[in-house]
């Protein structure tokens, strides 16, 4: 009880302190500096209308490469930690026909929508991560509905690796062509899609990278789900 009281008092003081700091960063006021630059130049410099996407994939490409890496680490790490000689699902109850049938019907659509999300990343609020997460949701549903379901592990792992390499390769191609790692030669050199900004085939290499990320995130999250749902069984 004392501990709780102490915690609350401490936290209130810390909160007050944070609030004091935040008071110097007034809410809703324009504090943009670099942000405004992005808004002013995003279309002409990247061919994307979604400034967030342009920042994520293009201007701050290193962040995103890192982000992809983080998820890869999680997938690898979970795989490493939960690795056992033999592991199986241990769910006891079968999904009812309502769930299994619903899943059958939904899975293609969920996947399609996942792809839609990452393909349109430069135009809509989507992107590789929500897209990938949506795809993983399709696999999650399969796991939930069918207690014996398993993703094709080898294929998934290889996909993970290959698309990851593809991302880095895209960056290295940029280095070779434009002299900079992650240089968007599709937009900068080719000006591909310059005449139809706002339509699907635009945005330089953003859709390519988002496709890569989408696939990667989808496979990784699915792999994590797979790992989490299995338990060691004695042989």
């Amino acid at each position: 009880m004392l501990k709780r009281a102490l915690a609350i008092i401490s936290l209130l003081i810390i909160g007050y302190w944070l609030a004091q700091g935040l008071a110097g960063v007034p809410f809703g006021e324009d504090k943009m500096l670099v942000g405004q630059y992005y808004l002013d130049h995003v279309k002409e410099q990247t061919g994307a209308v979604n400034a967030v996407t342009a920042i994520v994939v293009n201007y701050r490409g290193f962040d995103t490469l890192g982000e992809v890496t983080v998820l890869f680490i999680a997938s690898t790490g979970v795989g490493a930690l939960l690795w056992r000689k033999k592991r199986e699902r241990t769910a006891k109850t079968e999904g009812s026909i309502v769930l299994t049938t619903g899943t059958r019907l939904l899975v293609p659509f969920v996947m399609l929508f996942g792809v839609y999300i990452f393909i349109h990343g430069h135009l809509t609020p989507g992107g590789g991560f929500p897209g990938g997460a949506t795809i993983a949701t399709a696999f999650l549903l399969l796991y939930m509905a069918f207690i014996t379901y398993e993703i094709p592990h080898k294929a998934f792992e290889k996909t993970e690796g290959i698309v990851g390499m593809a991302y880095v390769l895209v960056g290295l191609i940029g280095l070779a062509i434009g002299g900079y790692f992650l240089y968007d030669w599709i937009w900068q050199d080719w000006k591909f899609g310059a005449d139809n900004i706002g339509r699907l085939f635009s945005g330089g290499f953003i859709p390519i990278i988002y496709t890569i990320i989408g696939l990667k995130v989808g496979t990784e999250l699915s792999g994590i789900i797979d790992n989490m749902l299995k338990e060691e069984v004695s042989e």
Binding site: R89, T90, A91, K92, T93, G95, L99, V110, F113, Y116, I117, H120, L123, T124, P125, G126, P130, A133, T134, T137, L140, L141, Y143, M144, L229
Partner: protein, 84 residues
């Protein structure tokens, strides 16, 4: 024109009531049901926001949200049912 405030008020009340059930329980499934309702309401709210901000692209967000929430609720429900 009744104005956005009425909808928002209704939605806010609904959310608060659901929140009450989330905290109150008493069973885990009760909380889950409340969460499920909240996600549905939130999806509606997102659609409303799309209209309010006059951005159609926000509709996609609502759909993604609905999908992810569905997956989550199913997973929890299956967990409660007897392990995953």
């Amino acid at each position: 024109m009744i104005g956005i405030n009425v909808y928002l008020a209704l939605i806010a009340i609904a959310t608060l009531l659901s929140m009450y059930r989330v905290f109150r329980g008493p069973t885990t499934v009760d909380r889950l049901v409340a969460v499920d309702i909240m996600t549905t309401i939130t999806a509606g709210l997102m659609v409303l926001f799309a209209l309010y901000y006059e951005r159609m692209i926000f509709l996609d967000v609502a759909l993604v949200y609905a999908m992810l929430a569905f997956g989550g609720v199913i997973a929890f429900a299956r967990y409660m049912e007897g392990g995953l």
